[in-house]
Symmetry: C2
Subunit: 364 residues, 2 copies
């Protein structure tokens, strides 16, 4: 396939996303975005085993002065301690402000490498090389970086834009099936919240995506990034419209927290969360029951859970109260006006919400 | 005295600096800058003992929902652990994104509170209430926030602008004499690097400043902030002209590091460092020996050391090599073309620099 290039247009700080096959072997694509300084590849042990040697060698062949830092693998290492190990290595290597941090990996690596780039000597250049579908369609646009705090996920972080995103679709060939599905949850989300035509395309092409057809993946990644870029350009600091990207996430976070983080993947929780949000929208009289069924059907085809776990309605409400979207003590939800049109509101029936949560059947 | 208001004009994110007497009792000045959320006052134990109760009570009387966090006092606490204690308290109090962080204290408090505001939930509003002269003339403009790392000062941080700076000159009445002098080092710096007229005013009025005359202090704080704002507006991310603000600082950092951080105050090291930088400028044929003497004289009147400690030339050079201004392995210095006109250059005589450092007399 030919490379696709999408320009994310944020005032004064636009950057390209290049989507294609075998991009890890294309150091010439990276080189124009490096300054005169060194490149630090931040990755994790699992990704390193698959791709680091080749990527690093390729950069060096292109005359780039690169070294690498390999983090332990997993969300539970998204901590200050791990972040600090990046700083330790960069300081030991005497990295100056002309250094570029390159994140090679999924969302956890990207979040930490990005936050390290945002804060090392008050900010150095940053390039993302996402190797999971979730990172390619979610983390590549929006500039969110963060670490976790014992009292909450992503509580400490920064908005920080990369200079370049290189989405190598070939890396998706080694992605576990469950993680492919988790990425597709976010892809379906873009269709549901803002792009009815894309949603219909996904209903037609979900099998190709599950079979990792490169052209289908390329199209889905590009269109997802376009959707997200469109929202983020409107609202970089998450004051308003950007909130629709959290469709399914308030419920999803409650599911993740209620089951204990790490039991369900984020995308799995968002999938079941989107079905709850859609049910709530139907109860508000906005969408039809058949729209809810369409959403559940395409998520199922993507191998995702569409049935939320039975935590009890009160427990859900408590867990949703911790969400960052709470403002002035009032819970806000992202609901659907139709497939392809979402909005943020605090104006919904509290009794209706409780009923939707009560209606969740026992896991049995 | 009447309050002075200076607008710092950074594209899209301008904010006012209000300078006056007894501003801690003027919560109405703060109120318009708070959102609907809570106010978290971050301070330290020493400042808390003097000013917290009154300030907090005053905010509460004005209907502001405020609570406070008191940090241990001193640069050695400018660490991740202390920063994290701010996050712990904010999370325990369930602070959301509508929260405003108010820094009440000197530079260390401001650096940490500012970095906490920059990164708590990826950024909340920030107000500075600097209670030292150094913080009033240096930290109130430029948006620099940071913590230290065992391998270097201010290595981890962010550029983050406050919504408002409230410089209460009355708080300078309790400032230890040595810290007043340290603040004056930066005041003299502004004159030396970019404002010959202000430099001449300082030569005339240093005694009034040392006597803490409110009108003289107000004028010096306002003019210093204007100078810094002028440079920062040109160059927010420190790519070029902003570097002149580091006049004396490359030498100063070497002095601080060589003596062990905390032995000399930062402003004291900068004072002796500026004299070294001026001597280097004279050696380059840029300024006259009498200009060097003028600078040393006004610094002496401000109660500052003008004689650098004898660490040995090689030790100085090593320590200067660690500086963030090193680019591509090449040391850059801020030198003077004349009193009131500084520039950054890598084009200087290395032998000349070594000679200036060798000429430092033994401490005896």
């Amino acid at each position: 396939m030919r490379n696709l290039t999408l320009n994310v247009d944020l005032k004064g700080r636009d950057y390209p996303i290049i989507i294609g096959a075998d991009l890890l072997g294309s150091a010439h694509l990276v080189k124009p975005y490096l300054g005169s300084g060194r490149a630090v590849i931040v990755t994790n042990e699992a990704v390193a085993a698959l791709y680091l040697e080749r990527f690093e060698a390729n950069l060096r062949e292109a005359g780039i002065d690169a070294f690498s830092i390999s983090l332990p693998d997993g969300e539970r290492y998204k901590t200050w301690e791990t972040l600090n190990s990046i700083f330790d290595a960069m300081l030991a290597q005497r990295c100056d402000r002309a250094t570029t941090v390159i994140a090679l990996g999924g969302g956890v690596v990207g979040d930490m490498a990005g936050f390290a780039a945002a804060t090392y000597q008050r900010g150095v250049s940053y390039i993302q090389v996402p190797t999971t579908l979730l990172a390619q369609v979610d983390s590549s646009v929006g500039g969110k970086t963060a670490i976790n705090h014992p009292l909450g996920k992503n509580m400490i972080g920064a908005f920080y834009q990369p200079r370049l995103v290189l989405s190598d679709l070939s890396t998706l060939s080694t992605l576990p099936r469950r993680e492919l599905s988790a990425g597709l949850a976010e892809v379906v989300k873009y269709g549901a919240i803002m792009d009815a035509e894309f949603f219909a395309w996904l209903e037609e092409n979900m099998q190709k995506l599950m079979a990792r057809d490169l052209d289908a993946l390329g199209y889905a990644v590009e269109r997802s990034c376009k959707c997200k870029a469109d929202v983020v350009a409107d609202d970089e600091r998450e004051a308003g419209r950007r909130a629709i990207l959290n469709f399914g996430h308030t419920f999803g976070h409650a599911i993740e927290a209620g089951l204990g983080f790490g039991n369900w993947l984020h995308g799995e929780a968002v999938s079941a969360g989107m079905v709850l949000a859609a049910s709530m929208s139907a109860r508000q009289g906005e969408i039809s029951d058949s729209d809810v069924a369409r959403l559940a059907r395409v998520l199922k085809q993507a191998g995702l859970p569409v049935q939320a776990p039975s935590l009890g309605a009160q427990r859900y409400l408590d867990l949703m109260g911790y969400d960052k979207k709470v403002q002035d003590g009032k819970l806000r939800l992202v609901l659907l006006r139709s497939i392809g049109d979402a909005y943020l509101t605090a104006d919904f029936s509290a009794a209706g919400l409780e009923q939707v949560l009560t209606d969740i059947p026992d896991d049995g």
